[in-house]
């Protein structure tokens, strides 16, 4: 009986919505430069090897030229590497956050049709559904998917 109660309590804990909060991005060069095209992705979203790969190839940055001068590149690279999360499962040093195992798992129920909504268009557009993503808040409670109600994702 006692074990059953403990098991039920643990189940309740797991059924609570995910509270995902990340540290706020602080580096100003990073914010200024990277936010010109997309959200300033938190450094904790990737491991350091992946960030190094990204920053060493800015001329071909996910299909576009995002090159910066040497000094800015170094400032941003150091900031990302120093604040990266290295226990992320990423053996291939994948640079697409949206292709990481934890990401695909969290977004497995989002259909292509949902993503194609004009306010979303791509899974890398976090703020389309996670309104407070730029503040590091990805809480499940605060998700609002354009064109969808909670029960119909």
């Amino acid at each position: 009986m006692k074990n059953l109660i403990i098991a039920l309590l643990l189940l309740c804990v797991n059924l609570n919505s995910d509270e995902i909060k990340m540290p706020k991005t602080t580096n100003l060069t990073f914010q200024k430069e990277c936010k010109s095209c997309h959200m300033a992705f938190q450094p904790t979203l990737l491991n350091s090897n992946s960030w190094i790969k990204v920053m060493d190839n800015l001329k071909e940055h996910f299909g576009t030229d995002a090159s910066l001068d040497q000094q800015e590149t170094k400032i941003i690279k150091d900031y990302l590497v120093n604040n990266s999360k290295n226990n992320i499962k990423n053996v291939t040093n994948e640079i697409y956050i949206t292709k990481l195992p934890w990401f695909t798992r969290q977004h497995r129920r989002i259909s292509e049709k949902t993503i194609a909504h004009p306010s979303i268009k791509t899974l890398s557009n976090c703020v389309a559904c996670h309104k407070n993503a730029e503040k590091g808040n990805y809480d499940e409670d605060e998700i609002k998917i354009p064109g969808k109600s909670w029960s119909n994702r």
Binding site: C37, H38, M39, K59, F62, G63, T64, D65, A66, S67, L68, S119, I120, K121, T122, S124, N125, A128
Partner: protein, 137 residues
């Protein structure tokens, strides 16, 4: 009465356009000098040619792209980054007073966006022509 005055002022500002910033003047001079070195017959930048460069469609990775893809055909409107869906502030300096006021920014974006559309860095003459076009619009 106030509406009339306001409309007159707005119209007046459009007819006068925007004065080039100190930064833009110095950058255009730099580009002019570079253009003359490459082409001794070069005289002045041409906003019409700049417009052609801005509107011309290229095929990159099997898709059509031009500057207007992200910046739209009306420089006074907001643009939209076609890859990330992020809003781009208007390019027109008469609508967005920050445009064409920082040499580093102008150099950075001209280099990047020429690469995105034309797969090469623009020549000094091409850059100057594009800037002349943006200034007028």
């Amino acid at each position: 009465m106030n509406k009339t005055i306001l409309s007159i002022l707005v119209l007046a500002s459009f007819s006068y356009g925007v004065e080039p910033s100190v930064a833009l003047k110095s950058y255009m001079l730099e580009l002019q000098n570079q253009a003359k070195i490459l082409n001794p017959n070069f005289l002045n930048f041409d906003a019409k040619i700049g417009k052609d460069i801005f509107f011309q469609k290229q095929i990159v990775d099997g898709k059509e792209i031009s500057c207007t893809t992200c910046h739209t055909k009306n420089l006074g409107s907001q643009g939209l980054n076609s890859k990330t869906n992020k809003i781009i502030d208007p390019l027109s300096p008469s609508v967005n007073r920050l445009r064409l006021t920082d040499v580093k920014e102008m150099k950075k974006w001209l280099k990047r966006n020429f690469n995105d559309v034309y797969k090469r860095e623009g020549t000094a003459q091409e850059k100057g022509n594009v800037l002349a076009f943006i200034l007028k619009n």
